[in-house]
């Protein structure tokens, strides 16, 4: 049985220190949750960059594939547009020795880079196409 006296004595509030600690924990929790939002936004922006780079790489690839075989130039071409750096390479494809090739095959690599330092990202596409008839 509790007397009024003991119940009153047991009812002490929080000390200032306890409240401050609770606040610090709350602030940490809120900061963590908010950083999730920021991470989400940043990841979405990265996804958008990938989409742009992919579009650029596919367009470069289409340009090289649509060229007449006689006008296909070997070697590396590169350029920069809209913050993206592209580099395309055309080279004869080294086929396995056992395969007989009536027409030459060319390997086309397209690579799009963006960002700097550790944040550097890239998209690379490769394909094969037929070259000029011998």
């Amino acid at each position: 049985m509790s007397s009024p006296q003991s119940s009153l004595a047991a009812q002490h509030g929080y000390s200032l220190l306890e409240v401050l600690v609770a606040f610090a924990i709350l602030a940490l929790a809120v900061a963590t949750i908010l950083s999730l939002f920021a991470t989400g936004l940043r990841n979405t922006a990265v996804a958008a960059d990938y989409a742009r780079a992919l579009t650029m790489a596919e367009s470069q690839l289409a340009t090289l594939l649509a060229k007449e075989a006689t006008q296909l130039e070997m070697g590396v071409t590169e350029g920069s547009e809209e913050g993206l750096h592209w580099q395309s390479q055309v080279e004869p494809y080294e086929e396995p020795a056992s395969v007989v090739q009536p027409t030459p095959l060319y390997r086309i690599d397209v690579r799009v880079d963006w960002g700097e330092g550790e944040r550097q990202r890239s998209v690379a596409l490769s394909t094969l196409r037929l070259g000029k008839m011998p």
């Binding site: 979405t44 989409a51 649509a66």
Partner: protein, 215 residues
């Protein structure tokens, strides 16, 4: 002598807070509210920005995949038996071609006439896709009902360009309109500038599957 508590009058036992205690308490409540409001504002703003970014991205993905897939499957079909003109029309604002549509939702896989066009609607520029079944021998107006949908809205700029097959005289250049109806371009390029966080997209270049000759 100390009186037992229960014998105190209520006034004596409820001591109240000092001014200092009140001020500290209010300061703490104020800080908590400030943090909470700032957090809410930040959260709602970044939510909104993510949302617009994602919707712009989705719109672009759908639009480019539709344009790329249909254009890369297009077929060179003559307008009629007597002429050598192909059913392909290209201008900076409009592009018409014939391509197969996949069977979907009770619709048969068949050839469709597609028309991509940049139009101004309600004060904004949009990229619209019209399509209707193609029946050989019909006139250009056709009889079938035209289905239409908006592929990209909120455009600032948009245009098509066409690349001619290589000639003996020099490198072919991009040209704004396609004026040789007997042949097809080797590539079509679509350039878009959209309102919003991702303003400028790289040009979309699509290689056409047939070069020159008609069926």
């Amino acid at each position: 002598m100390i009186l037992p508590r229960q014998h105190r009058t209520p006034m004596q036992s409820s001591r109240g807070f000092t001014l200092m205690e009140m001020m500290i308490a209010m300061l703490l409540v104020g800080m908590a509210l400030t943090i909470a409001f700032a957090a809410l504002r930040f959260a709602s703003r970044s939510w909104e920005r993510t949302d617009t970014l994602v919707s712009g991205l989705d719109q672009w993905r759908v639009a480019t995949s539709v344009v790329r897939r249909q254009l890369s499957q297009m077929q060179a079909i003559r307008a009629d038996e007597s002429s050598r003109k192909l059913l392909f029309f290209g201008s900076p604002e409009q592009l018409e071609f014939i391509a197969p549509a996949p069977a979907q939702g009770g619709r048969l896989a068949a050839l469709y006439r597609y028309r991509l066009r940049f139009v101004n609607e309600e004060g904004e520029k949009v990229l619209r896709l019209d399509y209707r079944p193609y029946f050989p021998g019909e006139d250009s107006a056709g009889t079938a009902e035209v289905a239409t949908s908006v592929l990209v809205s909120g455009l600032l700029e948009g245009r098509f360009d066409y690349m001619a097959p290589p000639q003996s005289s020099g490198e072919p250049q991009w040209q704004g309109a396609w004026n040789t109806p007997e042949r097809l371009p080797t590539m079509v390029r679509m350039e878009l500038q959209v309102q919003g966080p991702i303003a400028s997209w790289p040009p979309l270049v699509v290689m056409l599957p047939v070069t020159g000759g008609a069926k």
